[in-house]
């Protein structure tokens, strides 16, 4: 089931949550809405679900206008960040709820409900928890039950609002891989909201980066990461170092180093982004290298972070693998040259 979002706007008081959003979700796709808090991603998801009504625009499911369809009839599966399981019902009854509230005509028999619920619990690998209450489950288990409950009504689309946001890092990583495998298995069109770029890049077929109620970029994980459409996308998808400069004859100068800025108009203000792991350290000066001095070294598991002071600019962060760091024998207080392997120059900001 494809979803088409046309010119959707939504305002809360003075706050513009969604500003003319246009987006298409292909049938069977797993799409991530990524952005900082307050960017409108959750509002967009809730508008798709029918939990919020847009001020303008249309939502189409498979070409059919559902903008005015009540959430009850929209047949969406919605998974909440804090699970929203019915606390007074067992896991079994939670999953069965969507079937039990159907009108008599379409309601399956008790035996069918039992069969279906157990099949779903097997799908989320929690069949053995059927008689427990939600409070007796761990966070990861609760979210899997919430997913089974949403799938029980055979939704046309599955919407997940920060589904792993309330879980600790390790469980979160496990669960998102599990979600990806599950999606490959059942292929229901899914949209999930996250503020975690790693999660979006790892799980989604396509990523929609949002900021201030607007879409900044739509693309596959590698597209948005490798060719960010805007400075915002660049800095949101990973750590960055930022330099301010001006363009002269196709070059921008940063602390004595020249960085290529072809296609940029002369004398334009330039903002230059470099990712910490895309900088090489050297003890030999060169034209494209920035001079600096190492002030801090921090070991972070498999990587090492060095802070380098650069004249007239903010301190630069450099990330090296453990091996590269050991090979270079870098010391605090040492003068070094920074060679950006890749730098993005944005002008006219």
């Amino acid at each position: 089931m494809s979803i088409e979002i046309k010119n959707i706007s939504k305002q809360f008081g003075d706050f513009k949550a969604l500003d003319n959003i246009n987006l298409e979700v292909a049938s069977g796709e797993l799409l991530a809405l990524l952005g900082p808090s307050g960017c409108g991603k959750t509002s967009l998801l809730r508008v798709i679900a029918g939990l919020e009504t847009p001020d303008n625009g249309q939502i189409l499911f498979h070409g059919e206008d559902t903008t005015d369809t009540h959430v009850r009839e929209r047949q969406v599966g919605f998974v909440f960040q804090h699970y929203a399981l019915f606390r007074h019902m067992t896991v079994f009854e939670n999953v069965a709820f969507g079937l039990r509230v159907r009108p008599k005509k379409t309601r399956p028999s008790d035996a069918e409900i039992r069969k279906k619920v157990h099949r779903l619990l097997e799908l989320v690998q929690l069949d053995w928890l059927a008689d427990r209450f939600p409070a007796q489950l761990s966070g990861g288990q609760r979210q899997r039950i919430a997913l089974a409950r949403a799938l029980a009504v055979e939704p046309r689309v599955l919407l997940l609002d920060e589904p792993f946001g309330a879980l600790d890092t390790k469980v979160r990583k496990e669960l998102r891989r599990w979600l990806r495998r599950l999606h490959d298995e059942i292929h229901v069109t899914s949209v999930f909201v996250t503020h975690d770029q790693e999660e979006a890049l790892e799980v989604a077929d396509r990523v929609v980066v949002m900021n201030k109620g607007q879409i900044e970029q739509i693309g596959t994980p590698s597209q948005v990461y490798d060719t960010p459409a805007s400075p915002f996308v660049y800095q949101f998808l990973g750590d960055i170092n930022l330099f301010h400069s001006r363009v002269h004859d196709g070059w921008a100068e940063v602390a004595g180093a020249r960085i290529a800025a072809t296609d940029s108009p002369d004398a334009a203000k330039a903002t230059i982004y470099v990712r910490p792991h895309e900088i090489d350290l050297s003890r030999v000066a060169s034209e494209a290298a920035i001079a600096g001095k190492i002030t801090h070294v921090r070991l972070l598991g498999s990587t090492v972070r060095l802070e380098v002071d650069v004249a007239d600019h903010d301190a630069v962060e450099v990330e090296l693998t453990r091996e590269r760091y050991a090979e270079g024998e870098w010391k605090v207080g040492e003068a070094v040259w920074l060679n950006p392997r890749d730098a993005k120059v944005y002008t006219g900001l």
Partner: protein
Amino acid sequence: MAGATNVHRSIVTTEAPWVRYTLTAIALLLIGLFLVVPLFTVFYEALKKGWALYFEAMIEPDALSAIKLTLIAAAISVPLNLVFGVAAAWAIAKFDFRGKSVLITLIDLPFAVSPVVAGLIYVLMFGAQGWWGPWLMDHDIKIIFAIPGIVLATVFVTFPFIARELIPLMEAQGSEEEQAAMTLGASGFQTFWRVTLPNIKWGLLYGVILANARAMGEFGAVSVVSGHIRGETNTLPLHVEILYNEYNFVGAFACASLLALLALVTLAAKSFVEWRAEQQEAAARRDAVE
């Protein structure tokens, strides 16, 4: 996990033993003087001249009629408040709308207004000299000095109990479960019946018990609108006052002991409900893996 009775207290928030014992002694003394001794006196005075007279005072026709009227007033006002309280709490806790704080203040009004004033309001509106008095008289409808007035006054004074009990509870629970129910296709009624109500049942029961106790025990507001017609518009508290003023101490205390018994039963029921609610919560917490 430590139980509720076995809480470890930090040394910094504890006082010296003599302070603790003195405070406890003062509290116990006051409770004894103002609560236990009067309660004992009620039963002592009621039974002073033997069980025979005690029961006679209670099955006397005027007393029976007072008991009946009290039960009628409670039987009408408690369900009315139940419906209103749930509706008001639902509206306030689950929706945002203009004038919400005004509604909350209005719900509290009966707590703030003296019951006598509450009774007078109804006399001014429905009494013979009141706004609608002549119209009501023309149509032969009696409200003041009749059962409808008593019920109205009782409804007024018990108005806040259930809503006040439910609003914080429902606000704390939020509306995510209701939203989840809606996305699963449940209608508004199904959502309320299957999701909201089970989540608030203990709070609701607690509110009903308190409202019932107040409905049966109310004196001030009912006294103003009742007219004290024996065997007709006397509720139990009013009947006690009349008997006492006539120096019929056994009768007065016998009826008073009924009210006192009602209070004791209410307290027991209230403690039971609190205990059950706590038990369920504790069980949920104890079993939680996280």
